[in-house]
Symmetry: C2
Subunit: 457 residues, 2 copies
């Protein structure tokens, strides 16, 4: 009977119903999460046009909403603290950033990415090495004196991290994903994720074993390269055929959608399994699909209904109209993921905002050190931008690499687990992550809008 | 620092990273859930056309997939057992059935539902009272003799339950939601959910206090009626205006989508908060939106691009073409929820299937009793169908009410918590729930297809 009982009552409904009074339910976690998702969904949509009206990117609206909700406990409102620590909400946030990077991958053509490969490698490497060296050997020991060398190594690693979610979102919101600078940033972010993993491995080994195994480093790089190269090579080999097979089984939009999203989730899982960020896998999955691969899927109903009405139209006009409709069909796989994105993506950014603890800003000396470290964090990435480009492009690329987001926090957390991250250094890193994450969207938006005006003029 | 530490590392990424070795991650729960969701997503899409090819409804494919995955542990494969008990997966399943009922609500016109109100009330009441009386006072004591009276009362309550998810899905898959029988079933299911709550309250009070408070019953009914009446009345009063306001702020598809889905989640939460099933709230939310309320949202890009190309077309033809495109626009709110449905709905049905424990079928005498109880469960609902209709309609309505799904399990679980549900009765109920849930889709599909042929001929 036990085995039965184990699996029979899995539905959250049951759990919630029993964890509360049967007739006065409602404080259960299901219920609260539903409310919470509804709130984020609609608030994000309300904030986004408001933010745009003031010239701020939509993502900043979501981040600030998160900052507000996350700090209401300072005013005695504890409701959101509970919800924010819910693992289900956290998983949905993770799904959000996975879907975002899948969308960005779908809107990126692999050949554009390859064509900026050299620049991206340069930006990625300089952007990892320079902040690491500055943090670990120069500025770290200067502004936070008296700590052991390992602590500075971890500070450096944290400064080296890049989180592409914020930047990708800004480029995407402004419709600038196809500009070369965006491609360089995306490519460099992928390279950074691999290099970041290597740095984290090296630093952790130094702390734990006192030495680094060259084999271990080689293994990490080999795995990452094998994953990225292998999945993209194999995926692009397979996906035209799998599209044809799947479309033969069911040519409707649901199959198309399932093929794209399932591939994204699968590669996110695989990336996670070898230690890379899941979003890198999702991005790689997006690169697998070119509109032409998905031609076997059915033309949508609207085309079939409009076509017979076009008898009176000249052949050329008819071709144009069908062309417009088909263009929308060809990009159907991008559009279909969209609603999933509307739902989940804001959850990620609101939750990221909620991690900003305003009370960490209450100690002036910590804030001062944090400002210096943040300046180093920004400087290191901007110099990386100038390693590959000149003028405005360099600024755009450099700022694109600035946000540390959740990756920086993960590095800091590992350091804390290993016992080499002091409390004060931890606070400093948190403020640095906050600043690099919140400052980037408006700066990048301003740079991109200026660039747009100049090109147009 | 503690307060900081509490909220800073919420992202699942962090938890997963730390709960495993940093460099050999992958057994973390995030990763596994991603794999699992990818698997359900693609399997459901592969199974669904296969099931249709054999004449079975798609939902049966998903249920059977769940049965297979859920019972692989009998062959020593424990992987899926772990995933199935994950609360995040369970929450996503719950979201799935909420989205399904929201979709069904969106595709239902309130006036059609009101026009069958009398019939639905009749079906709902008979379908609750008859199985309850049969189970509690006639067949229960006959086939499971020697138990206390309270146990029979709970058996009766379980037989009275209705779970509209399965039936709604079958009607929807076959495009039959608009037929009067479907409207009767939907209306009756809403009434059943309220009455089921009342029965559960009465029975639980009898068990716990030995008596029933008339006030308590009144309170439950009043709350449920106030919720359903109030939310639909207020919602339909507000939604044309809120649509206009929201469309003024942002007339794009994302706002439209957010308005509809957030309303669904919010009312699901509210329903849950007063003790009703969340899906009843989601269904009510769907009833709030009529295509005409959403006219303020922007015509999609495709219409704007096609219109200027139609200069050579006669005015009448042009009107027709724009009409087709606008028809698709007007139903945009239904279509936009669709991808969310593709993603989540199968998770619910696969997880429902996984609750079927085939080892409960290993005791012949239990199976025999369960078959009799199942026959009573089916009979009670079919008689209810005949209370409101004749001939094939009666059979369709009756079978539409048959699946007990998760609602039956919730009732049984409450009985177990109160200590009045014996182990053997529990097994019997589980088998009854399995049978009513698995048998309905093919039977209903056959009835609906026959009805379709006869109308056509």
């Amino acid at each position: 009977m036990n085995m039965l009982a184990d699996r029979r009552f899995l539905l959250v409904a049951v759990v919630a119903l029993l964890s509360t009074n049967v007739f006065a339910a409602g404080s259960g976690v299901v219920g609260e999460n539903l409310f919470w998702l509804a709130l984020i969904l609609i608030s994000a949509r309300l904030f986004s046009p408001l933010a745009s009206r003031f010239g701020f990117p939509a993502v900043l609206g979501e981040l600030l909403l998160g900052v507000v909700l996350g700090n209401l406990n300072l005013l005695g409102i504890e409701y959101f603290t509970k919800i924010a620590s819910d693992p289900t909400v956290a998983f949905i946030a993770e799904l959000g950033v996975i879907v975002l990077l899948l969308q960005i991958g779908l809107e990126t053509r692999l050949k554009d990415l390859v064509s900026v490969g050299g620049k991206a490698s340069l930006v990625g490497s300089v952007g990892i090495v320079l902040p690491f060296v500055l943090g670990a050997f120069v500025v770290g020991p200067m502004v936070l004196p008296g700590l052991e060398q390992n602590s500075y190594l971890f500070l450096g690693a944290t400064l080296a991290a890049t989180s592409v979610g914020i930047t990708g979102r800004v480029f995407r919101d402004l419709g600038k994903l196809s500009m070369p600078e965006a491609q360089v940033v995306l490519g460099a972010a992928v390279i950074d994720d691999v290099l970041g993993l290597v740095i984290l491995a090296v630093v952790s080994s130094l702390v734990q074993a006192g030495s680094v195994s060259a084999f271990e480093i080689f293994r990490i790089i080999a795995e990452a390269v094998a994953f990225l190269g292998g999945s993209i090579w194999l995926g692009r080999l397979v996906s035209p055929h799998s599209s044809r097979w799947l479309a033969k089984l069911d040519a409707g939009p649901s199959m198309l959608f399932a093929q794209v999203l399932a591939t994204g989730l699968f590669l996110a899982w695989l990336a996670h399994a070898i230690g890379l960020a899941p979003i890198i896998g999702a991005f790689a999955a997006g690169l697998l699909f070119e509109p032409i691969f998905l031609q076997h899927y059915e033309t949508p109903k609207v085309v079939r209904e409009v076509e017979p009405l076009l008898d009176g139209v000249s052949k050329a006009e008819k071709g144009k109209i069908i062309g417009v409709l088909e263009k929308h069909t060809h990009h159907q796989h991008e559009h279909m993921i969209e609603p999933i994105g509307y739902f989940f993506v804001p959850v990620f950014f609101v939750l990221t905002g909620m991690q900003v603890d305003l009370s960490s800003l209450s100690d002036p000396s910590t804030v001062m050190v944090a400002l210096i470290i943040s300046a180093v964090a920004i400087l290191g990435k901007i110099v990386a931008g100038f390693a590959a480009a000149r003028g405005r492009s360099a600024w755009i690329i450099g700022w694109g690499m600035v946000p540390r987001g959740e990756v920086g926090l993960i590095f800091a957390m590992v350091g804390k687990q290993l016992g080499v991250m002091s409390e004060s250094m931890f606070s400093v890193i948190v403020i640095m992550v906050i600043l690099t994450t919140l400052v980037t969207p408006p700066v990048l938006t301003a740079l991109l809008k200026k660039a747009g005006t100049e090109t147009a003029g």
